[in-house]
Symmetry: C2
Subunit: 268 residues, 2 copies
Amino acid sequence: MEKADRKTRLAVVAAMLTREPGKTFSLKIFCDMFSAAKSTMSEDIALLKNMLKTYGQGDIEVTLGAGGGVRYVPAVTAEQRAGVLDDIAEKLSDPTRILPGGYIYTVDIFSNPKYVAPMAEILAGMFIKTNPDFVATVETKGVALALFVARALSKPLVIARRDLRITEGSVVTINYLTGSSRRMMTMSLSKRAVSPGQKALLIDDFIAGGGTVHALFEMMKEFSVTVVGCGAGIVTRVPEKKQIENYKALLMLESVDMTAEKIVIRPF
Amino acid sequence: MEKADRKTRLAVVAAMLTREPGKTFSLKIFCDMFSAAKSTMSEDIALLKNMLKTYGQGDIEVTLGAGGGVRYVPAVTAEQRAGVLDDIAEKLSDPTRILPGGYIYTVDIFSNPKYVAPMAEILAGMFIKTNPDFVATVETKGVALALFVARALSKPLVIARRDLRITEGSVVTINYLTGSSRRMMTMSLSKRAVSPGQKALLIDDFIAGGGTVHALFEMMKEFSVTVVGCGAGIVTRVPEKKQIENYKALLMLESVDMTAEKIVIRPF
């Protein structure tokens, strides 16, 4: 490629980094691409970091040394965070979402990239320091959220399944009771999915009693994997005592009143 | 915000557009953000489009008139496409992936954003002209691919489920036979998920006999939804006659030889 001017370099690097958040690019890639000196590219990156920060468009992290490079972190400002969560809380407060048994219909929110991507970016920011090897979840409703968290951290996603499928190969299966409704549930994870000694970040869409996440925690133990964090989209106020202790969440479901047709949900 | 110079505007707009592919931003947002005239921002967008194209970093589409604006399309070049698909085909050719019954373990590929995101961008490019209202898939293995296609097109994802869950509300359920193994399967879709008259793009990870995709097609009919396209990650060469006729795919699985421990898979 021929030499590019600074505004071209900045724009193209901004697009490349943002397109693959969490992925580390060596400076050399950009130097070769633009026939630019390393010092020039370093200056560009510093400028770009500052520009993105000024306009609340995330952060660029620079790591030095061998294997080092630059990566985009889709950080959100406090204001953006409040905007996203208030908007989603309002949508979820719609009483037509109330289902028989006092459940809430949330599927549309938790499978729409428009809502899931910013929620995932907020969660990813909360756990980026834990440096997990992978993100784990249980199918199905939490998969989109967990996948976007994995994307923001540039890590693979591991999905524990409810049913047994031949395409998973050999699996480890555990049975457990859900925390809220005390039903017996099953989850399975392929033996090929993870390796002993890895670090897992658990992500789920909804924590009520915490039974499912606790079971996923136990599953990780079966694989000699350390759980470095647990995050959820929504957590219920009741029961206060969950089957897991340390978790972070985006929204708290205060109450669902079927008679008054009222849902109270707010940023956590 | 105070006035920003051209290189700042270009870099920040590049990051904003790339961060939310498919989303249409009105020019006014940028004019306000940078205290810039509309003509200036139009020039910037034209420049940026050209820069991204030169460096194979996707495209910017401009729509005029009321409701118009600019959006990022994560287009891939023919060379990038070949690179991505050759790499994935090579990974999937690893004979240790062979499972009992001649199945292949693909879960790690289809749940890792590193592989799924570029595959989804290629698929999204194939179907962007069909302008679907949503992307539909069947849980679980294809969810990540479908979700990233939905993200690239800035549309919601709709997931048909294998089991019945109270959190889906009222559902429509259909039973069908898989094309390959002739097993009876069930899928359900929440009545709230879609509206009559909408247009659906069907995405799945794997098409063998085509029974699952065909069933999803039938499900869409139940909801008076038009199917505008059908895309898959992998399609098998055998059986040649699938239960659906029009589909596009990224990779073709030619053969799995359990005795010789050999998998042949190539870009479609």
